[in-house]
Structure formats: structure tokens, C-alpha cells
Amino acid sequence: MSLSPSPLFSAPGPQVRAVSDEFHGDLLEVSMGPHHPSTHGVFRMMATLDGETVVKLKPVFGYLHRNHEKIGEGTSYLGSMPYTDRLDYLCSMTNNWAYALAVESLSGQAVPERAQYLRVILAELTRLLNHTCLAGFLLQDCGASGTPLMYAFREREKILDLFESLSGSRMMCNYQRFGGCRTDAPPGWLEAAAALVGGYGAFLDEYEALLTGNEILMARTQGVGRLPAALAISAGVTGPMLRAAGVDYDLRKVDGYGFYPRFEFRVPLGAHGDTYDRYMVRVLEMRESIGILQQALRGIPAGPIMDPKARLRGFRAKPGEAYGRIEGPKGEIGFFLISEGGPNPYRYRVRPPSFINLTILEDLCLGHSIADTVVILGSIDIVLGEVDR
């Protein structure tokens, strides 16, 4: 598919690609959403169709905007932590970690070893959870009547049980604190995690047997929604979408935050950057996460999980600014804080990966049919809580 001529941001006027006039039936303006069954939440696409193919696509969102960043300025540093669970409500642990990382770099607190190991374990479990659900939603958009999604949710439930027995809540964990973690792993938790990770490889093999070789899935996703590496880089796309386009950029290797240099794992790269590559890169990343989890669960030391000097209430950060970022399952999730020494941050900014990955939706969908736009949206993996904040 040729790189669409429309510049990165679609120009104000209607960007209609040249369509042969002789067959130019009237363009059909179709609005999909915000309550469309396949848009992963309240998200709307104003698609202009010429017959089946999309000629212009204008994403409309903001339905789930909750003023997260302005509230962050009014709440104490600790008070914002439970709100970060509500950003990307599928991966609350990684959101917490990114925010904790930002505040720690602001206040310069050290994090004990056991807490670092726990954070890596929880982040990789969240990555497994997110990528399995992504494959399920992608197949649901292709129309597989829910079977892959149910298998994904069956595995997700096991991981959520682990989160619940550790942090108290399945999805709204509110578990990380500045300088470590809130509670230590209860007895038997690490063994249960090891058992789950042990069985995950077998589940992935069965999942891939159902999906990867499936001719219909290959026909529906190969060559669809091709993202050239140049456009991906200039659009600021991060995460599996970027790596599927062939760009080698994984924050765990680039930043080396949180003991990741201690574990050895590989970063899969795609060659075509189409929907099938995005699906496969995530599946291969899951297999790497299993490797990391096994190494971390073997190597986790005993010891304190909270920096003794950490202060819970009345925490005042030194004036200055900091940007903490981690490789979340959807991409680089970052928190930018400006502190003036008070209990509340002066400026609280979230870098949402799925929102930034979403900006190139039109470029991916031009020229494809309406059935493909749904699959392409599914492969971008957006969660409206994070897109609208």
C-alpha cells in the first residue's frame, strides 16, 4: 500500500484520495461508535466510504475524559496513586510503577532489591495479561464468536487472582509506593506465581495452534494496516506497534530501569509492520516475558520491601521536575511531574501510549475496507481510559 499522501495530521479540509470519477458513486458517510460493539470502549470513527473502501476516517474521542491531570495537581502525591490504576484499567501495575518511578526520581528515594524484583514480576505478569487479551480482542473483531477471547480471559483471571491476593484488588491494585511496594508477598504467593508461569507456555502453544496458522486470520491480517517505520518514528509510536514496524526500541533495553539488565531476554522485531506482525510480535513478547518471570521468581531475594526512610504522609518533593517512563504493554507510559516543594505537584502530565499510537489510525486505514478498519483498530490495542485520561 503506498504511503498515503495525506500528511501526518489530516489537513482541515476533506482529504479525499483520488478515486476514479467515472465510478464515483455518492460517498457514504458512516459514523461507527461511540456505542459501536467493536470499538473497545467509547470511541467513534467518522468514516467516509466509497463503496467498501475507506476514503477518509476521522477518529472522535474524549467521551471518557475525567480531567485526570488537573485532579493530579490538586491531590497529594500519594493521593494520585490510586487514580493511575484508572488510566489503562487493564494494566494498573505498570501504571503504578511508572508513577512511582517518576516520584522517586523527583525525590531521589532508593528502592530495596526485593521491591525491584516484585515490580519486575508484576510488570511482566501485566504484559502477559495485556497481550493475551489483545489477541482475544483482535480475533473477536475478526469475528471468531468469542472463543479466543474466552481462553484469554480464562488465563487473565488466574493472573488477577494473584494480584488480588497480593494487593487486595483485582484491577485497581494501588500497590506501588514511593520507595518500594505496599505489602510483601503473602506466603505461597511466589510458588503460585511460579506455577502459573510454568503453565503459561502450554497455554500459548494451544493458543497459537488455534490462531497463528489459521488461514482466515492470515488472510484478514497480513498486508492490512501496514505501518512504515518512518511514519511510526515520526508519529512517536512506541511499544509493540513500533517493533512490529521493524524499529528496535524497547525501553527495558534502552533505559535499563528496575533491574531489567539483570535478566537476559530478546526483543522480537517485525518486518512488514502490518496487523499480523503486530499480533505475532506480542505473542513472541509473551514468550520472552515468561523467561523473565522465571528468572525473577528464581532470583528474588528476601529483605525489606519499603525504603525505611520513605514517608507516607506529609511527603514533600524537592522543587524541580522529573520524567519517569517504563515499557508498558501498550508502549512507553511516562509521568512528567513539576514540583515546587509543596505536597501537591505543580504540573502532573501523563504520556499515554495508546493515545499517541492512535493518531496514525487514519493513515493505516485509508484504502482498506470497513471490515479492516475494525481489525486495524483492534491491533493498535487502545484502552479509552488512557486515551481520554
Partner: protein, 401 residues
Amino acid sequence: MIPGAPTGDTLLERAPVLLRDWLVGFLPGPARWAAGSLLMIVAILAVFGTLFAFLTLAERKILARVQNRPGPNRTGWFGLLQPFADGVKMLTKEDIVPRAADPVLHFLAPVALIAFSLLTFAVIPYGRHLVPVDLDSSILYFFAAGTATELAVFMAGWASHNKFALLAAMRALAQLISYELPLLLSVVPVVLATGTLSATGVVAAQSGWKWDLVPRWVVFTPWGAAGFVIFMISALAESNRSPFDLPEAESELIAGHLTEYSGFKYALFFMAEYFGMCALSGMAVTLFLGGWHAPLPLLEFIPSYVWFAVKLLALLLGFIWIRATLPRLRIDQLTRLAWKFLVPLALVNLATAAFWSLSAPWPGPLQLLRWAVALGLVAGPFLLLSRGLTAGLRPRVYRYA
């Protein structure tokens, strides 16, 4: 009535016919024929009505079990009352007709769809003596009634005066028309081999067993198996079942041409889809799986309509199994599959069937050659065309940074 084989005519076999004659016996002469056919209509409606009800339940239960969950089990024992609960729900739901819709067509569409799909049940031979209408060209009648349903789908899409419904109606028509051809072409070899257009004739031609072990069903010949596969794929597409359930693809165009229907009219569309599925499976059993014949001579004591039911349910469960697994095809891939893959294969299948019937009298050892050539004629084009169809589609190998 085809004189049944001497062993096959047990009392149980003729029970339905005896029952009917006894019931009709009360009426005076001329009314007997009318009462008899009325009874038959009631019987078909009752049997396939309940089959439809429990098929929806079976579909939800099997889909659930495939997804490791129990499925509906709250209404009645093991959820057996679920279809009646759905029925009551559908009856009591408000029937909304959009103001801009065309009232006459909007009402006529489901009625026409149900009428045409019910017409097709008249000619399927359910048992040795259970043939509702024995026409000389009943297979042609079956497909004539089948194609008329396209008209009703178009009426539904156009009358709802809704952008989505219109787009979906066009898709549905493209799909139905492009799969009409392979459906009919896969039946032509059967008619060619059995030499008759009447369903009972085809079933009669498939009676008997070779070496008292392998039944002479069409599906056990190379061209028969290929024809059966093509017929089933086209039947999937004709009844809008996954992976061809494009018209009401919920992930794209909400409920396709059914968007503006609610209440019992929606249930009628649902029912018509299932009747279409049952009728096509019934015809597949009749043409390819030896209709009501028992698979083994010693199983002959079981009445013939039981065998028909067993084969029909097997095919229906296959439909549900496929729906639980496969994702959906895009509209252009779907039509490309029909025109560039199924139609050529069906034409080649015609040639194989011709060769098969011509080479029937070959002496002993040449039979192996006959089988080899027939299998080659089936497998060759299949591999050739499938490479063309899936050009460039294969699982990829990924490099690591």
C-alpha cells in the same frame, strides 16, 4: 412409494404412514388427500420447529462448552426451557418499525424469507415412506425455492431505510449469488451419476453395500467427497453462517440487514436462517450421505428416519463447531474464494464424475488405476488453486534485536 427392501420394512418403519392412514380414515374420500397433506405440513412444522428451538439451545451450549463455561442452565433442568424463554421474550418485545421505513416491504421481508425456506422442506425424503412430496425434479424445486430467499434479504435491507442495512444487503446479495453457483455445480455430478433429478431416485441409487461393508454412498467416491466438501462450504455461505456470516457481522455493521428489526420479526429472520441450515443439511444428507440408508446391513432394523436424523444432527453439529472456531472472511476474499476456487473445482469435479461413471465397467486391476486417476483429478486442481488463493499467506519467521 419406492418398494422398501424386504428386510427394511419393519412395523416401526411404516408406523408413521399407518398412523396417518388411520387418522385420515375418519374423513370421507375426497377430503382424505387434503387432510393427509395438512397432517404432513403440521408434522414438518412441529418437527423442524422444535429442532430449531433446541438447535439454538444446543448452539449456545456447545459454544459455551468450547469456551469452558456451562452455557444457559438456569431456565429449567440444564437450561432446557431456554428456547421457550427466548420465544416468550421475542414475542413480548416491542416491534419497532422506523418511521422512514417502507411498511409493506418491512413487513413482507421476514414473511417471504420464512415462506421460501419452509418450501424447501417439502421434497427432502426423511425416511423410506416419509417423502412429503415426491416430484420428478425435486432437486430443481429445492434450489428454486432456495434462490428466492435472496429477494427477501434484499427487501429487508432496502425497506429499513438505514445506511448500514443497505450496505449489508448489498454484501449479503453478493455473497448469496456468488455461492449459488458452486452449490448447484457440486450437485450436478450427483445428478449425472444417478441419472435422475428426483431426491428419492438419488437415495434409491445409493442403496446397497459393497462387500457388505462399505455403503454405496456418493461421499465414498473421490468426486463425491470433493462435491460434498464444496456443497458444505457453499451451504455455510448460503445460510450466512460463520465464517461467512458477513451480512450480520456484528463487528462491522451492527446487525446488517436486520438492524431495524426487533421483536418477533427478528426471531423470524433467526428462524429462517436455521430452517435454511436444516434444509441444506437435509439435502446434503440426501445427495451425498445416502439419505435414510443405514451405514451397515446389520443396522437395518433401526428405522430409516432415525438414520436420517442422526446424519442431519451430525452435519448441524459440524456447522456449530465451525462457528465456534473460525474467524470471518472479508467480502472480497469471500467472493474470490467462490469464483476463483470453488467454481473451478466444482467444474473439474464434473469431469472427474464423468470419467468415474465411464470407467465403471473396467476389469479388476484397472479399478486401482481408476481410483488413482480420479483422486489425481480431484487433488491436482485443489493444490494448484489453493496455492494461487493463499499467495504470500504463511506464518512468518521473526528476527530478534
